[in-house]
């Protein structure tokens, strides 16, 4: 009994400060924001209202922004999965001596500053950039293509920084597959493609799913890369929140938009777990 009390006191001593910090600086601000989102005005006297949410889901502009965000997230997710899967496969299965370097190369975008990444892509995609100069030298185009500040420049930037998440997610599942299963398939007469299609891919689909959900959520919430590589030409959910809060200074409406973003992210994660649960039960 005494020991239990002492254990509890120790636990409190350990967890008290960190939990207080988290409560005051993470949970409280978000709760405060949620409360703001149902106020008519801020600051000043107010009534509770759901009008901000209604406005968001009925306004054509915000619907278009939401659509673009989801289209972007889907594009980036599909691209990272398609580009990343073979890399993960090679990383797990090859007996290359350079595996260590491959690993470092794969995670390198995460180690490089956001500033470097976006400026790098500006140099590659800009009017005087690598791609345009190469195309001009080859005589394919005369005038530079407007590659920057578009849906596709944002896509390239996001695929670049999110590929590591996808590759690591897939690799961690691929690495756990018992190669005996693939060997059995081969012994039973399946060719390498058939083995991959019927055995390896289905077994690794959980890694693809986990990576996809991560990439999708990170894209939906992404702000800097779209802002920097889109420069106001690519309007997304996240850029809208920024505008409402800092440019238009409509805090209640901005809060409602932020709450919708959080809800959408949560919904996607829950959907994922529901799907995984069903697959696991089968």
């Amino acid at each position: 009994m005494r020991a239990a009390v002492r254990g509890r006191a120790r636990l409190l001593a350990l967890l008290g400060l960190p939990a207080a910090l988290l409560g005051l600086l993470f949970v409280y601000p978000l709760a405060h924001m949620a409360a703001l989102s149902v106020r008519t005005v801020f600051p000043g006297a107010f009534q509770y209202t759901g009008a901000h949410y209604a406005k968001f889901v009925s306004d054509a502009y915000f619907l278009r922004v939401t659509q673009t965000s989801f289209a972007l997230a889907l594009t980036v997710t599909v691209l990272t999965a398609a580009v990343g899967y073979p890399v993960a496969y090679y990383f797990v299965r090859s007996r290359s001596r350079h595996k260590h370097w491959i690993f470092l190369g794969v995670i390198s975008p995460l180690l490089v500053s956001i500033v470097v990444r976006t400026i790098g892509w500006t140099i590659v995609l800009g009017n005087e950039g690598l791609v345009n100069n190469a195309l001009r030298m080859l005589g394919i185009v005369r005038e530079p293509l407007a590659l920057m500040n578009s849906f596709w420049s944002v896509t390239v930037g996001l695929v670049h920084v999110l590929l590591p998440f996808m590759i690591l997610s897939i690799a961690s599942v691929l690495g756990k597959i018992d190669t005996a299963l693939e060997e059995s398939a081969a012994i039973l007469g399946a060719g390498p493609l058939r083995t991959f299609w019927r055995v390896t891919l289905p077994l690794s689909i959980q890694g693809v799913a986990a990576g996809s959900i991560l990439v999708f959520c990170l894209t939906i919430g992404a702000y800097i890369t779209p802002w920097w590589l889109g420069r106001g030409k690519v309007l997304l959910f996240s850029t809208t929140i920024y505008d409402q809060i800092l440019a238009i200074v409509d805090w209640p409406f901005g809060s409602a938009a932020a709450m919708i973003l959080v809800a959408a992210t949560l919904a996607i994660i829950l959907l994922y777990f529901a799907l995984i649960g069903r697959v696991a039960r089968r």
């Binding site: 690993f103 190369g105 140099i123 690591l168 919430g221 932020a258 959080v262």
Partner: protein
């Protein structure tokens, strides 16, 4: 496998591309930011030093990163002990809450912090910015320290106590040296994450208080010239130095288990 190897090399080239073009562009003698660079010159590096606002912003970034890392290390280690060593009601939920800032949309957190700190007059202060950075970096420390703490053989601590060491002495001479790799890794991640933080800082900075990434962004709003490539080159050198340091002391793969 051979064709796949070439494919992987191509993807790695894509991943390295932005870094590879930045360095030559910084050495350009021309005044447009582009590739290939025109001529060779160091004048853009000179231009960086001639802008005192960059140095000021660098100082702010370094201070915030250092302060938030110290706080995150202390609080994260405490929390890691609680989660690894104790079983209690609500443990899973609480643990989830602690790592939530890792995946939480940064823009939403930035907005929420702005709305909370404005009435307290804490926006555009070092204190406000540092506190926000602690929340963002804490999960990294919690994960790295937690991971090493899991691996600590408790019999070593028990032996120390049997031999007469008190709890503090045991912690100082046995546990702490054993979790040192986790602390170093956590501190490194925390420093990098804080130094590179953009979205949340965007809401909490302004005239008078600017971090380096934001200062660079504001510069590019008016001028796009090789100056920013020159700063980027300096940042790349810093990153490479950090990576080599981690690699040297810890080895990388162990700390990136997904």
């Amino acid at each position: 496998m051979k064709i796949l190897g070439w494919y992987v090399a191509a993807v790695l080239a894509f991943l390295a591309l932005p870094v590879l073009v930045v360095i030559p562009s910084a050495l350009s003698a021309g005044s447009t930011l582009g590739f290939p660079p025109q001529g060779l010159s160091l004048k853009w590096f000179r231009n960086v030093v001639d802008h005192p606002e960059f140095l000021r912003a660098l100082a702010v970034s370094v201070e915030v990163a250092a302060a938030s890392t110290v706080l995150a290390l202390g609080l994260g280690t405490l929390a890691a002990f609680a989660f690894v060593r104790y079983r209690f009601a609500g443990r899973d939920v609480l643990q989830l809450a602690f790592v939530a800032p890792l995946v939480f949309p940064a823009i939403v957190y930035g907005v929420a912090m702005l709305m909370m700190l404005t009435p307290l007059k804490l926006t555009r202060t070092m204190l406000g910015l540092t506190l926000a950075h602690v929340v963002i970096t804490l999960p990294y420390v919690l994960r790295t320290v937690g991971a090493t703490l899991h691996g600590v053989d408790r019999r070593l601590e028990e032996s120390a106590q049997i031999l007469g060491a008190g709890p503090w002495r045991t912690f100082w001479h046995v546990t702490l040296p054993l979790i040192r790799p986790g602390l170093i890794a956590g501190a490194t991640f925390s420093l990098i994450i804080s130094f590179d933080e953009f979205t949340v800082s965007l809401f909490l900075t302004g005239p008078g208080l600017m971090t380096l990434p934001l200062e660079i962004y504001h510069y590019t709003e008016f001028t796009i010239d090789p100056t920013i490539a020159a700063i980027s080159t300096v940042l790349i050198v810093l990153s490479v130095a950090t990576i080599m340091a981690i690699e040297r002391f810890l080895g990388f793969e162990r700390h990136f288990q997904v």
